[in-house]
């Protein structure tokens, strides 16, 4: 009886292992693309998008961390695609409740807000063989400026301007 259980277990384990191998090796044929209510969003079609969350960026060398506890999208939409073309999105991201750590106690982002330029997002793959995680590239729609930080280098304390380290 025990050997029978061992055999059944071995077959099950082998089947699961093969399944996992097949899943990990699965490659996409086209896209990535958006599907809305069960249908692929076609090229030329858009849908208004909202987004919320939090965003942090850090300069590890300087030990400076900027944490924005709120994030909101404006003028945002996803755009469909056909065939072997990736879905895209457009958005301007407004970050608020931003705090600076590690750059002096009086160092702040002006108004606690950072607004990105108009961004373009493109869906894509993590590998050249269309396998693995699906990714999103977010970059300026034009030029190279992702966002301008209004002023994190100017605080007034006792009438003296305090400059942040960076």
């Amino acid at each position: 009886m025990r050997s029978m259980f061992r055999s059944v277990f071995a077959v099950l384990a082998a089947t699961l292992a093969l399944g996992a191998l097949a899943a990990s090796a699965q490659a996409a044929t086209e896209g990535p693309f958006y599907k809305v209510s069960g249908t692929r969003l076609a090229s030329g079609s858009t849908k208004v998008l909202t987004g919320k969350g939090f965003f942090e960026f850090a300069n590890k060398g300087l030990g400076v961390l900027v944490s924005c506890h709120k994030e909101a999208f404006s003028s945002a939409k996803i755009a469909g695609s056909t065939g072997a073309n990736a879905g895209t999105l457009e958005a301007t991201i407004e970050l608020s409740e931003c705090e600076v750590e590690g750059n002096g106690p009086l160092c702040t982002v002006e108004g606690g807000k950072i607004k990105t330029t108009a961004l373009k997002g493109t869906l894509g793959y993590a590998t050249s063989t269309r396998t693995g995680r699906l990714l999103l590239l977010l970059k300026p729609a034009t030029g190279s400026t992702f966002a301008t930080v209004s002023s994190w280098e100017g605080n007034i304390a006792n009438g003296t301007e305090i400059r942040c380290r960076s």
Binding site: P32, K47, G51, G53, A84, A86, G124, T131, L134, L135
Partner: protein, 84 residues
């Protein structure tokens, strides 16, 4: 002071990543996040051809590490998702 460049986010979260053939599903809310070791390159597809794109955010020439999670929702659709 300007942040230059772009960011590459991973679709889904660390506990529920969206991969080719895994967690490709429709939902009211979808998300993207920045893993601890975020990818520095992505392959985007246009007309069947893949293009490798390197990207990263810089400030005064120094690379920045990014973190965060964003939840995305469509205003007029109950369910949507990203598929391959």
């Amino acid at each position: 002071m300007s942040l230059l460049g772009g960011v590459i986010a991973a679709l889904g979260t660390s506990t529920k990543p969206v991969e080719v053939g895994l967690n490709e599903a429709q939902a009211k809310v979808n998300s993207y996040s920045f893993p601890l070791s975020p990818p520095a390159r992505i392959w985007t597809e246009s007309a069947g051809s893949l293009t490798e794109v390197h990207s990263g955010l810089t400030l005064n020439g120094s690379g920045l590490a990014v973190a965060g999670v964003t939840e995305l929702e469509l205003e007029s659709a109950p369910e949507w998702g990203i598929f391959t």
